[in-house]
Each structure stands twice: as structure tokens, then as C-alpha cells.
């Protein structure tokens, strides 16, 4: 019997990420963030009579990328130029409302939701040893290919 997990795929900076659907309470349109009147890297929106802390995932990735460059090293890779732009709230962007322990929520602002699918566990690989040592994104737990594109699997509850 092949065990599967339900995964929601989203895009950011041209990359595809996968998260457990059971961790997602709701998907809001990105406009919710724009309506809150703020556009900083991390901010708050109103959600169910509460304030919801929102992480701009594009800026989060950018911050991680810059943080990783050792002192004196080239800051740009000729094959992967650094993208420094926040998620555009006016387009197709979405806010993933993530369920945290103790009935708390966190928002992750992403460029778009690509699709939801059942993914066979035997198609998922853990990070290669060298990457496991150097990974600076908490919650990055696996990699797989869907339609010949790499999907980076995240546990969003460990992201913050």
C-alpha cells in the first residue's frame, strides 16, 4: 500500500513549495494584506477578530539567501540572481493561514497557490547530507519533483 500525504503547492520567487494541507486553516486573497494599510516585510492583518502576524515569504527567502553569503563572498550568483521584491498584494497572491499549536494562527503571504495534490511518500526524498548540514530554513524537511519541477517541502509551523 502506498502512503500519501495531502500537500498544497504554492509559488514564491519562481520556486515551488509544498506544505501539509492539514496545517492550513484557510487561504485568503493577498488583498487582505493590502487593505490592512501596511506593506512592510512582516505585518499584521485582522483575522477572526484577532490580529494575524503575516510573513512575506518572498522577502523571507531573500533574507535567508543574503544571510547565507559568507563575508567577502560574491553576493550574486550568475546563475541565480537575487530577487529583492515583496509579494505583490494586488495580483493573484494568497495568504496561507497556518494553524499553530494552542489555537494560534500565522499568515504566510505567497505569490500564488498552484494546486493541492496527494503525494506518495515514496517519491519524497530527505535533503542530501551536505544540504542538511547547511540548511538555514527551519522546517525544510524534504524534496521531490512534480511535473519535472522541484518542490521544496516545508513544515510551516517551524518556519517562524
Amino acid at each position: 500500500m502506498i502512503t500519501t500525504i495531502d500537500v498544497l503547492l504554492f509559488s514564491s520567487q519562481g520556486l515551488i513549495f509544498g506544505v501539509y494541507t492539514e496545517q492550513i486553516e484557510e487561504v485568503l486573497t493577498g488583498k487582505h494584506r493590502m487593505n490592512s494599510g501596511v506593506s512592510t516585510e512582516n505585518d499584521m492583518i485582522h483575522y477572526r477578530q484577532q490580529k494575524l502576524y503575516v510573513i512575506d515569504f518572498s522577502l523571507y527567502l531573500d533574507q535567508k539567501r543574503r544571510h547565507d553569503s559568507p563575508p567577502g563572498a560574491e553576493k550574486t550568483d550568475p546563475n541565480h540572481p537575487v530577487i529583492t521584491a515583496a509579494v505583490d498584494s494586488s495580483l493573484t497572491s494568497k495568504i496561507l493561514v497556518v494553524k499553530l499549536p494552542q489555537h494560534e494562527y500565522m499568515g504566510i503571504h505567497v505569490e500564488n497557490v498552484v494546486k493541492i495534490l496527494s503525494m506518495p511518500l515514496d517519491q519524497i526524498r530527505t535533503l542530501p547530507a551536505i544540504m542538511e548540514t547547511h540548511n538555514s530554513i527551519p522546517g525544510l524537511w524534504g524534496l521531490t519533483f512534480v511535473d519535472q519541477r522541484l518542490v521544496t517541502l516545508l513544515d510551516l509551523t517551524r518556519l517562524a
Binding site: 547565507d68 550568475p78 546563475n79 547530507a129 551536505i130 544540504m131 540548511n135 525544510l140 524534496l143 519533483f145
Partner: protein, 175 residues
């Protein structure tokens, strides 16, 4: 008398066999130990790794970027369903940067418990040479490289640096 002659002939034959065996043993003793090298280029210099540490040589089709990694880890490739990391050997050794080309190749290096792809400018040759042709390196190389050098020899009249893949991988795991 005939028996004595026969015994003498037998003895001579036995001595010949012993002599032949000794000669063979002597030949084995002086036989050159050959090592296999995978020779490649990085920034117009020749480098090599031991052939028994290279599982496969693959062309560079697409390296999928993985976020949150140091910039010398370029990403991953899909090799028949296996996901392999790819290390930019130029960047790791502190050499000048250059985008990959049609000649670029990924060497799939493997030692016990660890495996990774190594991006190189081109693969030149896979050949066997006598081990005693490898000498201790006295190259004037940057400090980033000397820690990973096993020795040197010559290839097509130019210096060839033999790298130690175990030390490269160990450094990556220890950091």
C-alpha cells in the same frame, strides 16, 4: 647409472620451476601500481579526483535551486529519481566565478555515507597512471585549495592537481 641420470634431470627440472617462480614473484614485486584519475578543468587548470570516488559523470541539464543554502551549493539534480546535491567546485575552492557552459559536467562523487555532485568546467579524460607519478604538491595555490590537495602530476605538459574528495566532503559536513 640411468637412475642417477634421471634423478639429476628431475632435480634440474625442479630447480628450473623454482627459478621461474622466483622470477615471476620478482616481476610482481616491481609491477607498477596504477591509479585511475578523472581529469577535469577549473578556471583553465587541470585537476583530478580518484576514479574510484566518482560514481558517474552527468551533463548539466538543469540544476534546481534550493533556498536556504550557502551560495556554493547550487541546488539539486534529479538523477533517475535520486536527488543529488550539486557543489560549485570553483566557488568552493575560491576560484573566479563563471556561468556553466555546454562543456560543463557534474561529477557524482561518492565516499562512504556521503554523495554529492561537483560542478566542473569540463571533463578532459579518465586514465590510469602509475601511482609513483604523483608527487607532493609544491604549487603556489591559494590557501582555499591547498587544504584539499593530495598531490600533483603532469597532464599534456601542464600541472595537474589531485584533489582529496574526502577532505572536501568532510569540510562541508563539519562547517
Amino acid at each position: 647409472m640411468a637412475e642417477q641420470r634421471q634423478a639429476q634431470e628431475d632435480l634440474t627440472e625442479i630447480l628450473d620451476v623454482i627459478k621461474q617462480r622466483k622470477q615471476q614473484e620478482h616481476m610482481i614485486e616491481i609491477e607498477e601500481q596504477l591509479i585511475q584519475l578523472v581529469i577535469f578543468q577549473l578556471a583553465d587548470r587541470y585537476y583530478a579526483l580518484y576514479g574510484n570516488t566518482i560514481k558517474e559523470i552527468v551533463t548539466v541539464r538543469e540544476i534546481s535551486y534550493v533556498p536556504g543554502m550557502p551560495d556554493y551549493i547550487l541546488g539539486v539534480i534529479n538523477v533517475r529519481g535520486d536527488i543529488e546535491s550539486v557543489l560549485d567546485l570553483r566557488k568552493f575552492l575560491g576560484l573566479a566565478q563563471s556561468p556553466w557552459t555546454k562543456q560543463s559536467r557534474i561529477l557524482l562523487g561518492e565516499i562512504p555515507h556521503i554523495r554529492s555532485g561537483l560542478l566542473v568546467d569540463s571533463v578532459e579524460d579518465v586514465l590510469e597512471i602509475p601511482e609513483d607519478q604523483i608527487s607532493i604538491s609544491d604549487s603556489m595555490l591559494a590557501a582555499e585549495q591547498t587544504a584539499y590537495i593530495l598531490g600533483e602530476t603532469f597532464y599534456k605538459g601542464k600541472e595537474l592537481i589531485l584533489l582529496n574528495i574526502k577532505k572536501i566532503f568532510k569540510k562541508l559536513l563539519d562547517e
